[in-house]
């Protein structure tokens, strides 16, 4: 539309842009501060550090046993991804294709873990897992992380599945495809892009998921983010640069998968919003 050229309008537009730019600048500066500090020999109140070094990375790697932490993180995260993927896609398929009595209740049940913050449901959940003897174990961490990931996969997959014309499946059956055939040759290839998107997003979210893992993890089953927390928590003991080096390792891990995920999805989908039902 032909833009309003008035002065007030221009000032307003400028103010909005200034605000947004300020926010982005501060945001990038916070991230940069971590990175810069991790390479600093000493940094006390000057614009940039006195000198540069990579020694903190080596010391952090040893101190925080990062090689095992990273390994554990990936073991946990990939297990979560696989489990929530299998459970999520089957559930999403059923929800997308069938209407049944009580469906709205079921959908609500899957929505709740995404609406309620993890800590609210995490404490009773962690307590239960401890009672079951899963406290501090690998499976305890995996299970607690599947709780928000499964609904997320379901929510992301349902629109994908709805997009596939059900008549394609009917056509396959008319041509003699049994259920396994149908699944392997028709559905799986069509679903692959959606599944990839959903699973990559689950991966990124689980690496960054702090509260749930924190509640259940033991010393050998901490993910990177939990180790980072403990390091910062006890930061009087260790050098700040070393902690920041660990933070950078964490950041690189997360961003690596984020970049891959962004090839397939829109950034907005990481913020899984509960889709409003069509009309009340």
């Amino acid at each position: 539309m032909i833009r309003d050229q008035g002065l007030i309008s221009k000032i307003w537009r400028f103010a909005i842009w200034a605000l947004a730019t300020l926010f982005v600048l501060n945001l990038l500066a916070v991230i940069a501060a971590v990175v810069v500090n991790s390479f600093a020999t000493r940094w006390l109140g000057t614009w940039l550090p006195a000198g540069w070094t990579t020694k903190w990375y080596f010391s952090a790697w040893k101190e925080f046993q990062l090689s095992s932490v990273v390994l554990v993180t990936f073991e946990i995260v990939f297990t979560v991804v696989i489990i929530s993927g299998i459970l999520g896609v089957t559930t999403a398929y059923a929800l997308a294709r069938r209407d049944f009595v009580g469906k709205r209740l079921v959908v609500l049940l899957f929505l709740l873990p995404l609406l309620i913050p993890p800590l609210t449901y995490g404490i009773p959940l962690a307590t239960v897992l401890y009672q079951l003897g899963l406290g501090g174990t690998f499976w305890g961490v995996v299970l607690i992380n599947v709780v928000p990931s499964l609904p997320f996969v379901v929510l992301v997959m349902i629109p994908f599945i709805e997009q596939i014309d059900p008549r394609i499946e009917a056509a396959a059956r008319v041509f003699g495809a049994g259920t396994t055939s149908l699944f392997l040759r028709i559905l799986l290839p069509l679903l692959l892009p959606g599944m990839l998107a959903a699973l990559l997003l689950v991966l990124v979210r689980t690496i960054a998921m702090f509260e749930l893992t924190f509640l259940i993890a033991g010393p050998t089953t901490q993910t990177l983010v939990v180790s980072l927390y403990y390091a910062v928590f006890a930061s009087g003991v260790r050098a700040g640069q070393s902690i920041d080096a660990m933070a950078v390792v964490y950041m690189v891990t997360t961003l690596f998968w984020l970049v891959i995920a962004l090839q397939f999805v829109n950034p907005t989908q990481i913020v899984a919003r509960a889709k409003q039902p069509a009309a009340h």
């Binding site: 926010f23 500066a29 916070v30 559930t91 069938r98 709740l112 913050p117 009773p124």
Partner: protein
């Protein structure tokens, strides 16, 4: 002869083999979400000592405990209001941009990196010798560095950084969901930019903004690592999640911990209901347009 076989009758109701596919996921959710909720509920009502109400009495009787509600609200409400107040005008401008992707990608970073990383970054950035204070001193706005870490303001900043992108992205998706022809129609009927916003966009956005507020508030209310790392967890930023965690895992009183978690959920629910109740004064229908 009896009617159609049971299978067919069930299928007509939508229950067949495919529907059964929800069972694995459903069983998982019931076992690991619904059951723990009820377990926690019962647990909170069976305290270590005292009657069924003992945990709640203890919570509301001890200022160290019940003040956490106020402290958390004092953080979560202003931050959410500010985040939403800034998200709306910015999203309104951005919807007209062609290349939104760069901006949305940058804004997704704090959400992806998470609160722990952001807290760590802010400790350096907002510290007395960090860039933030440094810049303000250099420009001349300040004479002495201000204390922004290990207090309310550090946590506030952290909630801004992780909360604003969330509110912004949600608002943007709601704004983009409004049929652009509606704005064009309003313009041809004589509505200037301000009138288009107040008479057309705002009423259509209110339901979405209410939902965004609720989601953003709930996220902010559950603040935990930033309050510990960046705040003063024994003092002004002793948020309710800290109280719950300490009860359950430091004092090993999981009954009290469950009770506090439930109270936390309860406060969130009250605020959410209040906001959603308020929005029903406005329009509540689809905003996509008038085609079915």
């Amino acid at each position: 002869m009896s009617g159609p076989p049971l299978r067919t009758r069930l299928a007509a109701r939508g229950l067949d083999g495919t529907t059964m596919l929800i069972l694995p996921g459903l069983i998982f959710m019931i076992a690991l979400f619904v059951y723990p909720f009820f377990y926690g509920l019962v647990d909170s009502l069976t305290p270590k000592e005292g009657g069924w109400y003992a945990n709640y009495a203890k919570f509301f009787g001890d200022p160290f405990l019940y003040d956490t509600i106020g402290a958390t609200l004092w953080l979560a409400l202003p931050v959410t209001i500010i985040n939403l107040a800034f998200a709306v005008p910015v999203a309104f401008r951005v919807r007209l941009m062609n290349r939104q992707r760069l901006l949305t990608t940058i804004l997704v970073l704090p959400i992806t990196l998470g609160t722990v990383f952001v807290a760590d970054g802010l400790l350096t950035f907002l510290g007395p010798r960090g860039w933030f204070n440094h810049t303000l001193l250099a420009i001349g706005i300040l004479d002495n560095p201000i204390k922004l870490t290990n207090n309310y303001w550090g946590v506030f900043a952290s909630l801004l950084i992780t909360g604003f992108p969330f509110a912004f992205l949600l608002t943007l998706s709601y704004i983009s969901g409004i049929d652009p022809a509606i704005e064009q129609a309003a313009a041809t009927l004589g509505a200037g930019p301000r009138q288009r916003f107040s008479r057309v966009f705002l009423p259509l956005l209110v339901p979405g903004l209410a939902v965004t507020f609720c989601l953003a508030f709930v996220q902010a209310f559950a603040v935990f690592p930033s309050a510990v790392l960046l705040g003063a967890p024994a003092g002004p930023t002793r948020v309710i999640s800290i109280a719950a965690y300490q009860a359950a895992f430091e004092q090993y009183d999981h009954s009290l911990g469950s009770a506090i978690a439930l109270i936390m959920g309860g406060v969130e629910l009250v605020v959410v209901l209040a906001v959603l109740g308020g929005r029903s004064f406005f329009y509540r229908g689809p905003a996509g347009g008038t085609k079915g």
